[in-house]
Assembly symmetry: D2
Homo-oligomer: 355 residues x 4
């Protein structure tokens, strides 16, 4: 396997750290620069003692020339609205970019502005159409040739994978979709806040961002695209697009997302028929596992892995189908999926370096 | 305050223990017998060392004559289908009963049989119409005169209180109600099982009993009664009754339930108007607290208390209202509510002994 | 019961909040001012929604005249080195003070300076001899007449109570005492830090401040005083004082301390003889419970209570006695003990308002 | 790498499951039989859904002929006192055995009988001298040629590795050693008990088996051997052997052990000198990492890995050295170490398949 040279910008956040852990053992990767504005000058072992005897590397400040000259591919694990200041410059220098922020996920810059309160400049607007939404189970072919991949959000990954087959086959109504998601605390990142202070978060459970969570436009964009068919979709008027009722909750565990999705069946279906469309839809997807009813996935089945596990049940009493989908928010919901995208972009086996 | 004599059958389960903790400090109660078939002969301090220096009492086996002769009121904290063997005998002896099982909650014995797989005998069938569903915020007047109170289930308490005002005022459609509930592990009781073994349950999250949870008939009976009006309700045909899509989940915490309820608004409403009907509905309810949007309750706000905290938000994008309701499953969801019922039945202040 | 007027300075920290929760239900207390520099101007319900419908009070900034004029007794729940700026002024105004910081616990100002890196001014030096160390099980009589009580630290409370009888009776050697303590995360207070960020602290366990924890001088002062006899103690030279090897650890739970103490028996003892001296030592102490071997206390037995539970075992193979002592760090380790002291100072029953 | 054929007896316990997870990805291993008396006949995916798409293998009952004929090496992950019924037969058939129970760890059968209450038969007595105590950092050369390895206990691994260099170099007194250990709940195994029921174990902390934990003889045997020198040791009289004061505690986390060890320094030492003997002692040990003071290891640094991380500090005030040692109890404390032993016995790189 010919190695590519890879750097990580934002290497000391939770997603960045997972990237480093995967990349340092990846057979196709030579790990070059670890960029961290917070800890530049320190060795990564000083920040994460668990790297002792495993990785001996200094964290550095971002320098465009250095990073772009030494790297074939860069992961940008930066906050939303910050990535878009860096990504165009890396691309201009001929470096491939996998961006873990939301900055290139939303195709319509007006929608992005509405939810993230920042406007794309002209160059970034242009990049929106080039950027490929990095969900390999949906966009495998596009990712192969992508120069810029917008790595999906954690909630959207669990939700889109969870219900895509039902929408694709028009088994369910596009209206009235309800998604009740629960995420472990690492999903909120490393930034300190009272709500994430141990004695506040432990033995507690709560909903948050109950009306406006900025993953909503991403979820709706992709679900609409799947249901209405991507090509015809662009002509559709806004009213025909899928709108979901989404509620995120904070679980007192470190890692993992479980999304419970409620959809109305267009007509009565047997479990076997549904199982079949799921299995077919994901037959070439190495990281999606379908559970045969009445088995259901649990968060612990995927913790520490890049899997998305999906189960479902048909509630005939009310004509609904319930889908349960679980991922590790830091892996399939962030760093693992990013490496999966890198593998696809680089001609490596899709599962290389991932478990 | 004139004291009543009270015994607890099933004193060493999780709900039973909470009952003992409340009753032993209750100014209106003389705590007489603690019945436990598992630990009869032992002092309660041997089972629960935290009672040391606080309560010195032997656990005994059930003896109808002894218990009924010495007690004015008995709490039966027994498993479903077991209570109905004991309750009629206690009532016959002139003892008031607050039953924490599901055995007298469901008015229609055929429905009970369908969900609990046991048939009521003739005497118990007769008791079903006498038994009062012990949700004081709805049935205060009936509880005052009740001889037998069927203490509500934990999930039903959180859900019914959470959405009753919306149904009562016909602000929402009776169809398509979705309820996504999450409960701490004590809700599953003290019986050992691999799923509740610490290393299996900790750092995990899962849905369970996703199609058939036996709290569903209780929820649907009460919501239907509220929406269609109790009196006219009995004539209604089955088809007009409310059916809910209910999914319980297991939280890796000790105590607490959070229910997220999704309902379709019949017409657009302002938050203020909704807030008003909630405040009015619960103006005399000492244990229900309404949160003004955008504030929302969290489980920790009610842990260790008898409160039910309720918050809501209107999701105009999709025409839905989301309600968040939290309780401590062992208190407002079991022992606390049982004592609240005892207070009402005995002429004590409704909040006596409760926090 | 004649009510006293009480204010709390530092009402929104973890100990302060517990104080408010106890005091607002205390029959002998009229709760006057809640001082919080962080949240002055807000209602306490805005900071702690769990006070909704229970306490409706505005948080204010500290004003000496207002507080001293309106209060008979003030709890100062301020950081170490900050209390000493406020306490003398309150005392001068004739207000009794129970100080939860370490500022008046250490009798020797040079020792305080060594461990806390701040010097007492002349007035505060004078107060050191007046201040009574507020461990009621040792200093009951002095507390009765105290104007200033230095409320003990959480670790010291668990340790001193745990081994005082052994030292008092000279059953153990004063040298080589090892204390291995484990505390829940609330013991570290409300101040945000990465080590207390949920995803960092959860599923982890570590030792900290392993050489220099500032509770050591307090522990050694009191143990020495008990062993060498308080009166003769002052003449003793430094070398004869007890020195302990103390290691605190951080438990991923909200509340509670367990201290495991290892002491060398001077001569072989029967468990019964040891049990007897413990029971006698604490016969009038309502909040200390002695466990008969082989029973041992666990943290959950005291969570939410003001108890200190103590168990022990004699390890004949090595000639040592091991003592296990547990408290709730926020109650017997802080706010509960402070109220116990207030009760004693005010002529209330020692257990009033406490469980 | 030439593959060896490996089977696991006891494949569905916690250690057994970890063995399977490591072995199924081990380049030198062909995983043959998974024996489980509890779940024979089921596919491992039915018991552990996380193996879906990863391992498709039926669990079988133990059959000596089948297992011995098909395997070069067998891991026995059986309860204490049960292993000794199986191991001799496997050995007789020419199969190498790595036994995870305590049955071959204690060299003196009388001591084993005293602590485990079962007597070795003549064949097993004979095996005690052949069995090699499988701690590679101490017995590397012997393990290379071993036919039977007695895989160390979890607590002993953390403790022996933690303090071996100090004993070897006689830096510390052999008397008065105190070891205070804390283990996650998986250390207690998969067997259900009330103390490990989630709502009992969560938010709690306790000491257990405080006088007699059956890891003590193993710890004392090995520490004595290191201190007194293995060869001369056998002639030593019982009185000269090291006796430790050991207290295990139960942590409310899934995995990990932290041992805090207190030893008396024979004479004052500089940290650098101590650091040097540790680094030298473990210079060829790939899974031991020494932390330079004042850095200390935490459980999370080793969770999911085969590392033993060790830190220390010198407490000059009392002439003691404190050592903190952490491992993952299921890896370096069980399955990981067992695979490390297999690697050594089979001529594979010591770290093969382990992280």
């Amino acid at each position: 396997m010919k190695k590519i040279k890879v750097s990580v910008i934002g290497a000391t956040g939770y997603a960045g750290k997972e990237l480093v852990k995967i990349l340092m053992n990846h057979q196709g990767v030579e790990l070059i620069h670890l960029i961290s504005s917070s800890y530049a000058g320190k060795n990564i072992v000083e920040i994460f003692p668990e790297f002792l005897n495993k990785l001996d590397k200094k964290l550095i400040n971002f320098n465009l020339d250095v990073v772009s000259q030494d790297s074939n591919l860069v992961f940008t694990a930066l906050p939303h609205t910050v990535s878009m200041d860096v990504v165009p410059e890396l691309l201009k220098k001929g470096v491939k970019v996998i961006d873990l922020s939301a900055d290139y996920r939303i195709k319509d810059p007006a929608v992005y502005k509405e939810w993230y309160e920042k406007e794309h400049n002209q160059i970034n607007k242009g990049l929106l159409s080039e950027a490929v939404y990095g969900l390999p189970e949906i966009y495998l072919d596009k990712i192969k040739d992508a120069l810029l991949v917008a790595n999906p959000g954690c909630y959207p990954t669990s939700i889109i994978l969870g219900i895509a087959p039902l929408l694709k086959h028009h088994f369910v109504e596009p209206e009235g979709i309800i998604i009740d998601s629960k995420s472990g605390a690492s999903g909120a990142g490393k930034k300190l806040s009272l709500g994430l202070h141990f004695a506040e978060c432990n033995e507690n459970f709560k909903a948050y961002n109950i009306i406006r969570h900025n993953h909503i436009p991403e979820i709706e964009q992709e679900l609409s695209s799947i249901y209405f068919n991507e090509n015809t979709h662009k002509q559709k008027q806004q009213e025909t697009e899928i709108k979901v009722s989404f509620t995120p909750h904070l679980l007192p565990i470190n890692r993992g997302i479980l999304s419970t999705c409620y959809l109305a069946l267009k007509e009565s279906k047997e479990e076997e028929e549904v199982l079949e469309i799921y299995q077919k839809f994901y037959q070439k997807a190495p990281f999606v596992r379908i559970f045969k009813p009445p088995n259901l996935p649990e968060i612990k089945f995927v913790t520490g892995t890049n899997y998305c596990d999906i189960g479902f049940t048909i509630d005939e009493r009310v004509g609904k189908i319930k889908v349960i989908s679980v991922i590790d928010n830091l892996l399939k919901g962030a760093a693992g999926q990013a490496v999966q995208n890198m593998n696809i972009m680089s001609g490596f086996p899709e599962t290389c370096g991932l478990v």
